[in-house]
Symmetry: C7
Subunit: 92 residues, 7 copies
């Protein structure tokens, strides 16, 4: 999709979406997956496919209660709808 | 899909779809996802995969009422059906 | 899929599918999405992924009545089944 | 998938699947889509992604009766199960 | 996925899956599609995406009876679960 | 995904997943497909997309009984959940 | 998605998600698949697509009891939601 980006007066100092992941390393995030499962835990690494390593991961039920303690997980990026930092990184 | 684009007398000054995202930075957008979820919030960054960072994101129910306050989210582009600027950018 | 195209005596002056989009710029189109939603509005830009910008977009119900006024939308190409010019471009 | 093709004693004069589309230009085809919708109309152009332009397109119901007249459509190849020439091209 | 193949002592004279298609040209095959539809007919061409041209194609119901005569079809490879030669090619 | 692999002290003599397929050539395997169908038969070839040729393939019902004798099939890799050698190859 | 990674002050000594797989070789893991199936067993190899070889694999029911003993399986990465080391690798 480079064409899309090349045609723009893109400010190179502008933040990009993955910066949020970089700033969230070591912090709590909430992740919603395609099957409506919510996962909460601390993100320790990620890659360009949005594959994430989450420590102390917990699967939450629809009311936000802990359903299953998953511990350390490697989560495939393709199943993710969104990632939300619980402790917001420095971002305006 | 370059072939598709090369065969056309494409006006290089013509706007491209992602220009809308560029013009919407810092503004409110409404996003419809594949699972019929609607998200509203302020877009602060995007990339060529339509991954978006939304601040003060809110999940809306079918009647447009706020269902869940999500705060800051990194939304994967692959789940998006459309993005609609709430305050329309300068576009005719 | 270049192999498919190379093996053919392809007439280079032949129209290609995306020419329809190019000719429809500034005109009304009807778009059917994978989830059976129909969108109607004026197309103002597109890219090689069939991402479209539609202004004055309206979501139609199954009987063709306006269900929701969406205004300006950036529609992801991957969700589209077909695009149909309401005012037919010059095409035989 | 080039590996698959390279390992074969492929007869270069052998027909390839897309030749059927090339021979069908200007002729009636029946198209079955993934959602079981059938479309009938005259194909006027195609590309390597099997995106098709169909003129006088009609959506058929399960008994083959015309359900909706669609007119000119640009159909995304990704939704197609098969394309069948109604007037068979010269192919044995 | 080249990495997968490079690491192996791959016997270059070993048959590859697409050889079955090459040997089946001009012969009857049974094709199962993702939506559980079965198609039977004579394969006349294929490409690296497993797109197939089938002549005298017939759609079969679950008991193997002919449900619809489709004639000549260009079948998109992406919908195929398996292809089975009805008259087995010379393969051990 | 090369980035993922480059960052690791990868032991080049380490086995890779596709080695299992290579060692299973000529042996019985059980294959589970996405639609919960189980296929059993002897694998005679594979490629980097996990497309498989299976001879004497049998479709099994949920209790493991033979439901349909399929004979020789070319199975598309994209539908596979897992492949399990029935006679285990030499692997620890 | 290289663009995403290039824009960041990425610490090259930082762990990446696939390091978890590398550290888990020879250890027990729990794998959740897209169809909600859980698989438990010892991982012996993986590749960049997250294809995994699991020995002594067991399919678990929703209460975590062994439903089926699968033995040695080659699991396609595309079906995986997450991989969780049962004996946690050295990771903080």
């Amino acid at each position: 999709m480079n064409e899309n980006m090349n045609n723009m007066n893109m400010n190179l100092t502008q933040e990009r979406p993955f910066d949020i992941l970089n700033k969230s390393i070591g912090k709590q995030v909430l992740i919603r997956l395609k099957n409506s499962v919510n996962i909460r835990g601390k993100i320790t690494s990620f890659d360009a496919h949005m594959n994430l390593v989450i420590v102390n991961a917990e699967e939450l039920d629809s009311s936000g209660e802990v359903k299953t303690k998953l511990g350390l997980i490697l989560l495939r990026g393709g199943n993710i709808i969104f990632v939300s930092p619980v402790e917001a990184p420095d971002h305006t």
